[in-house]
Symmetry: C2
């Protein structure tokens, strides 16, 4: 019961702080972000000690290597948090931008102005870096933030927030603009789902399970960030060198991230012609191949693919292969199993590429390039708060403008209708 | 059970039609819209006969006058539907617009392009005009639409859709792009709430109850259109003439619409000085006044206001009066009871107006003008699909761009990361 009351009180305090914050100048916000960075740099040891407590618990619980890696901070990773805050201070502040303005015949002057959303609810899992990164992006765009991290990183998150609070007390931004739900209780997160009065948007960052729990149960609007079941379609007119290079990059550069490729869809004519080159590439990069019957007929060591191979992300050096006889068949497979994140076609035929990009329904569509570019910093947006796989509000990598809304401001001299 | 299967089949058919539609040119869509208008004009009698069946049922059920008015069509109202479709054909098609494009250092070319959302689910109440208006806006922006109207207008809606289908068969747009749920069963509407696979967005149009049922139960993203509990704040430095003119317009021009004013917040100093002018204006326009104690001290015939007077829309010639002693108190009242639709301040003090407009949180904020301008056609957007009172995706009157999303299209020559 104590937690229940306090989560709502925290959200109310965030909303109040958001009002003060929304009236600050860009300079005041930038100075504050640099003060946050200074304090992070001065407190590396303290943050690492807290992280060690999380790592110790994690080892006891027997978390796997990938999970422990997401959980772990190091001196350089903590310094990256400070660097990230300084980078955000240099991004353009989108708030206050006049997106359009005009005057009606009766003299009423209309402006459409970008303003902060208000209070952002951030629900995330292991990675403690989200604590500082999300706070920085929220504050720069004039929003307060309520942070609810995973229980496995609670000590790290708490230490980072303590440092941020100490720093904020030296700035014009009220410390209450960053709220930390200091609880490992799931009910605390669930309370945020329905606090429409105090929270303007929820952003879940983490695995498919977390995201789906938020989307299904929240009445607060959600910015859905995504799982990426990304496909590469190798057309019958694909160039072999480009295909090999792109497959290797999209699959092996960072297999655990959402813009990595999970399924290859290969035109059967092309596969027959290039099966030995493809097989060599898989072997050279230790890629485990799951596939349909036609894949098994043309390639060695193919594990029969089942429904889960088509629908789930591997996030590992596994890949699924679906062999098709037409572009339409490839598009149907993507429509059925894709998560609307990133899809690519490799072909030398521009018309085929155009058709693919017109029909496939995803945030990012690639012709002869790796899906790995679906990323705020790779595209030049600066830091991102996540990659949206939904169609409303923001789609693809979300920078600062995704954390804003608009107001119409109308100045008149007594106009009536 | 039959309905259950058929609603899903209709949504699947809509999704398939949306793909064909999304590849049509602006000209092909415009020609189709004009063909729809032609057919509406040729079938006025048929539509009016169907409407007469709904009106007959409505009279039997004893619906009130305002409701019957929303339900009723006339020759001129049907011809307005055709005129509306022709107007939509003349609006700019937002799809295909390149919102931004740039080339990365490695040569990867990035375009952010506007595309249709896909399939729109429209859930609405009495007004049969929504059937044609919403279909026109959806088709022009390349979207298929699934229409679920209220049971009281089902004959009118069915007749309009029959005419639209006959017309579509003469055009490049597949008739399946307009789906009509021919059922008075609420379960049919509820099925649409969770059809995330086939429906990209739900737009509820109607009363607060309908909208809240959709928002609370849908997992499909919702474009929330709004109830408008709009306030006029009469500051201590308000000009009397402007205040009177704006109050009369915002309250009496069309009391039943969402941008009409429902509550006056009046600074007590101003009220004391201008009470007789205000009282005369109320009497002259047959406005019934509900108010707090201070209002009753300064004005005649004030009915004591309760919580509901502050929180609900009257949609009639009733008005609530809250007397305050500061701008802050006015802003607190708006924050507590406002629906984030439209809020106005009447004052000659620009600083006070600026503060009001910076702090009040609503789609549209007015200084010395009537709230009645929050309307797509009044602001020059052309037809609107509704007025959004949410902060994500679209805020305020929603024209064609609100029915679109974006895709990033990346053209490369083998780029990897």
């Amino acid at each position: 019961m104590k937690t229940m009351i306090s989560v709502e009180q925290q959200a109310i305090a965030a909303k109040k702080a958001a009002k003060t914050l929304s009236l600050l100048s860009e300079n005041e916000k930038n100075e504050a972000l640099n003060t946050l960075a200074d304090h992070i740099e001065k407190n590396v040891k303290r943050i690492l000690e807290a992280n060690e407590a999380d790592l110790h618990k994690g080892r006891e619980k027997g978390f796997d290597e990938a999970y422990m890696d997401r959980l772990a901070l190091s001196e350089s990773r903590v310094l990256e948090l400070a660097k990230g805050l300084r980078e955000v201070s240099r991004l353009d502040d989108p708030t206050g931008d006049i997106l359009s303005e005009w005057t009606l015949e009766n003299g009423l002057h209309v402006q459409q102005v970008r303003v902060p959303l208000g209070v952002i609810g951030m629900i995330y899992e292991a990675r403690p870096n989200v604590t500082a990164d999300a706070a920085g992006l929220a504050l720069k765009s004039g929003n307060a933030i309520v942070l609810k991290g995973g229980s496995s990183s609670i000590n790290s998150n708490r230490a980072i927030v303590e440092v941020l609070h100490e720093a904020l007390r030296e700035t014009k931004i009220p410390a209450e603009a960053v709220q930390f739900i200091d609880s490992t209780d799931r009910a605390a997160a669930q309370q945020l789902f329905t606090m429409k009065e105090h929270i303007d948007v929820l952003i879940p960052r983490g695995g498919a399970k977390l995201i789906s729990a938020v989307v299904s149960n929240a009445t607060v609007p959600v910015l859905e960030t995504g799982t990426g079941n990304c496909h590469l379609y190798i057309d019958k007119e694909a160039d072999l060198d480009k295909a090999l290079k792109i497959i290797v990059n999209a699959k092996t550069d960072r297999p655990a991230v959402c813009n990595a490729a999970e399924t290859l869809i290969i035109h059967e004519d092309w596969l027959k012609e290039n099966s030995s080159a493809i097989a060599e590439m898989f072997a050279a990069h230790s890629i485990t191949v799951h596939g349909d019957e036609k894949a098994a007929e043309n390639l060695p060591d193919v594990i029969p693919a089942n429904e889960q191979d088509w629908s789930d992300e591997y996030l590992s050096l596994d890949i699924a292969i679906k062999v098709v006889s037409s572009l339409d068949e490839a598009l149907e497979h993507i429509e059925r199993y894709g998560t609307k994140h990133s899809e690519a076609i490799i072909t030398e035929n521009k018309d085929t590429a155009h058709q693919f990009m017109a029909i496939a329904d995803a945030a990012a569509l690639y012709h002869n390039a790796s899906t790995r570019f679906t990323d705020g910093s790779a595209l030049g947006f600066g830091a991102e708060i996540g990659i949206s796989t939904q169609k409303l509000h923001a789609r693809g990598p979300m920078g600062l403008p995704a954390l804003t809304t608009v107001k119409y401001l109308m100045h008149g001299t007594g106009q009536t209708r």
